[in-house]
Every structure is written in C-alpha cells, then in structure tokens.
Chain length 294, copies 2
C-alpha cells in the first residue's frame, strides 16, 4: 500500500492497534519509550526507529497513542519529537486522549512545518483495540480525514468526523462526562438497593428493560455485582480524563456540576489507592460512603 505508517506508543492500546495496521499490509515504523515493547511488532515485520523524529521521517502518516498531554507534547514537540522529522504534506494523527486546547496548539506547530494533524481519540478500551472495534472521534480537515480513513478502518468500527481541529478531543471529553455520571447513577442505585434490602442483581435486570437502560448498567453494572474491578480501563487514566473534562468546561465557561462531582469522586478513588483498578471501581467509593461493601 502507498502510505507508510508510523506508530508511536505501544502500550495496552497502541500495540494491538499498530498490529492491525501491520496485518493490513501497510509499511509500519514503530517507536516506544520502553524499547522492548517494539519486539513483537518487529518480529511481525515492523521497522523500529530510534526516536519519534525518525518515525516521522520514515512515514507519511504518523500515529501517536500515549497516556497524557505531557507525553504527546514530548513525542511531538520535544527535542527528538515528530515535529523535527515530519515532512511537508505528511499527517500526524494523535489518538491519545488529551485536552482540546493542547491539541490545537500542537496542530498549529505542525502546520508551521507544513504537516497536517488530526486528533482522533478512541473509546472501547483494550477489548476494542484488540478486536479492532474502537470508536474513533476525529477532528481536523475533512480531506485529511478522508486520507487517513483507510487506516482508521483497520482499528475501529465507528469512525466519525466531528469538526475542525480539537473536535475529536471535545467529543471524547463529552463521552467521558456522560460515562462518569451514568456510572455514578448506577453505582448509587445498586448500593441503595442493597442497603434497602433489595437484591441489586434483580434491580439491574429490571432497569435494563426500561428508560434507565445503558451499556454502563449492562457491562459495568455486572462488574459491580461481581465486584470484578480488574482493568479494563484504569481509574488512574480515567481520573486523568476527568481532569480534561473539567478543564475543557472551564476553558469555555461551562460549569459542570455533575462532571466535577464525578471528577472529585475519582480523586477519592485515587486517594484510596484504587488507581490500577477498572474505573467502575467508583462503585466501591460510593459503597464506602454508605459504610458498606460495593
């Protein structure tokens, strides 16, 4: 295939995502901070580069999938970053979840080098990454979106272009905001049922048939009943995302009474040492407030 793909960040999400692109027959160059994580992909035919700069120099489309805003700034704008290797006419696609404001700044800096940028955060977790069924929320120019679409289609199932630069990150923030409050509602309801002497499993089943239905009630509700908080998506990262949500609200003057309550409860979860557990462990925090087990 024509486009050469670079992939930076081979963690829980990035590794299977890069694997799908490689399996589709693209030429792939990879880089990861911990170099040993490149080995499985190199054994399957990827090239390993010594820096993000070198990845960009060898690629038409460079994808970044790292943990947080500072990581994106480092791998793109840092001394060995993508911006120093990127060629005019190439595209940088950041699939990490970071702040819309930082995204727009990175896009501006890349434009100075003649490179395009898309923000394309994902939803669907490790399972979605492995199955190639992620939801991908994209911001940037429509023609750049069309150009990268064949690559997105190897990693995701629902791929939506939402608007100009930053629109993907705004949408991801909205996603986490909706999720957090749905989760809080389910956690409070199942704990309330338990404390009121009603079987929370029966309550969950009854609610699934009505207007209270949600994927959260279905999937995370079951996790809460099973007390299965193995990740999944880690509380530490969700806490980071809720910081982006509240920062985004603040940056546009939108008070988020519900969102900031949820963000505070994730801070409580962090303070209780639950950072490495699945983000549905919010139920344990809520149950703790009631002096009971989740």
């Amino acid at each position: 295939m024509g486009e050469r793909i670079g992939f930076i960040g081979l963690g829980i999400m990035g590794r299977p995502m890069a694997g799908h692109v490689l399996d589709a027959g693209f030429t792939v160059t990879v880089w990861n901070r911990t170099r040993s994580k490149t080995t499985p992909l190199v054994e399957r035919g990827a090239a390993a580069a010594a820096s993000p700069r070198e990845v960009a120099a060898a690629s038409d489309i460079t994808i970044t999938m790292v943990a947080d805003t500072p990581d994106v700034l480092d791998v793109i704008l840092g001394p060995q970053g993508v911006a120093h290797g990127v060629r005019p006419g190439s595209v940088v696609v950041d699939m990490s979840t970071i702040s819309p404001a930082a995204t727009r700044e990175v896009a501006r800096r890349l434009a100075e080098r003649g490179a395009e940028m898309l923000d394309a955060p994902v939803s669907g977790g490790e399972k979605g990454a492995i199955d190639g069924t992620l939801s991908i929320m994209v911001g940037g120019k429509p023609e750049v979106f069309e150009r990268v679409l064949p690559v997105f289609q190897k990693m995701g199932r629902q791929i939506v272009h939402l608007g100009e630069s930053g629109a993907g990150q705004v949408t991801k923030a909205c996603n986490q905001l909706v999720l957090s409050l749905t989760l809080l509602g389910v956690a409070e309801a199942l704990t309330l049922a338990r404390k009121a002497g009603v079987d929370p499993a029966k309550v969950r089943a009854a609610l699934l048939g009505g207007f209270a239905q949600s994927r959260v009630l279905e999937l995370h509700g079951q996790r809460m009943l099973d007390r299965n908080f193995a990740p999944g998506f880690r509380t530490r990262l969700y806490h980071k995302d809720m910081g982006i949500v509240t920062e985004t609200g603040r940056s546009v003057g939108m008070p988020l009474l519900g969102g900031s309550l949820a963000a505070q409860l994730y801070q409580v979860a962090m303070n209780q040492g639950l950072g490495e557990m699945d983000y549905s462990v919010l139920a344990r925090v809520v149950a703790g407030l009631g002096g009971t087990e989740s």
Copy 2:
C-alpha cells in the same frame, strides 16, 4: 374472567392502563376524583363507583394509580378509602410511585383487614401505558404476585417481582436515580459540545456507538437537540420522585451525592416554572448555567 378488577385513578397513565384491563374482558369498576374522567371507560363497559371504598367492595383486585404518597394514603386509608371496603382475601395493588416506607405502612394496615398488598410502580411513561408496554416493578408475596400477573400482563411487557413489600418502590427509586444522573450527564455533555463549538448532534451520534450509549442519550438526547420538552413525563412528577429517592437514601443511611445534586437541579427547574414540561428539560437548566440555550 374470574377476578373482578377495581381501578382507582384515571389520569394520563391510569386511563389507558384500565382500558387494557377492560379490553381483556375483566369486569372493571372505576373511580376517579374528577368523576367525568370515568365516562369513556363506563361507555366501554366499566362500572363507576361512588368512592374508593365502593370500588374495593366490588373487586377482588383493586388497583390504585395516583400521583403521590398523600393521594395513596387518602384513597386507601382515608374515610372513604379502600381499606374500609376491602374484603379478606382480596388484593390491593398500588401502581403509583411513592415512598417505600409509606408502602410498607399501607401494606401493614391492609393486612389488619385480611387483605394482601403489592407495590407495583411502573416505568415507560404515557406511551408505555397506551401501548401496554410498561415495565412493572413489583414488591410483595410471591403467591400474590402470581395471582395478579395475568392482570399485569395486560398493561406491561417486562414484569419483574423484586422481593417483599416495598421492593417495587425501592427499585423504582433506583430507576429514577439512574435516569436522573444519566440525563444530567447527557445534558452537560451536549451543552459542553455546543459551547466548545462542536455540533452536539454529531457528538450524540458518535457517543451512541460506544460505552456512553443509553436510552436517555438516544431518546432524551434527541429531545434536547430538538428543544422538544413537551411531556412525556412531567418535571413536576419527576421532582416528586427525586424527593422519594433522597428520602429513601436517608431512611437507610445511604448518602447519594449524585442523586441529591440531580434532585436540587429539579428544584431549580421547578423554580424556573418548568414543572409542566418533560423532565428532559433539565437540559435547559444546565444550559442556563452555561449562559446559553439548551
């Protein structure tokens, strides 16, 4: 059919529900505070009684479907109430949404008369009542549930027995709690998107494909986009229900940080004169906090 059915409360919900029971061939006796509302059912073959007491005297199973706890106390325990006409071995089924504590008290008083009681609040709104597709959440003795089940099946599709007396009302409170926080999340997210310059319709569509999916995002999210707050289910009644939610939490020592925030915002909606609009009008309250239109 053998069981004679009484129906007390022929409002937006009660009238179509009683109609379905009548259409199924049951002998039905009705009563409503505003007598004229009984006429359409009488024309279709129902008998009209002069008081709830008379309804109970003429029925094996007496159903109440009224607005609030005081109304239930009045039609069941008041001077002309069901309790004064009910015969031993008959059943009273309260399908209103009231507090679990009041429910248990009414059940205790009816038991003194030798009558059984089920609490059987519903979800699904006016449309569910008209279509006969309500979700019915039932508390009470299993054998009484089995006896009334054929009647429930005329009014609802998902009919679940959740436990002893009060369990239906606890489940309904859990339903409203989950709904209110899901709705708050959707309202905040769509307003955040709009303020951040991203099309909220696109955000809704993107989120429907992932973990943030819910019937609220689907149905009420669309209402918010259309600014269509015609009821549906009135804010005034939802505000009443949120009072039951917070009271139920308090009665079992369960702090509901999210639920009480939602309850407070429904108080704001009431104070803004939105009581007769659909409860998804919460989006207008949230948008107002952002100094923008919903």
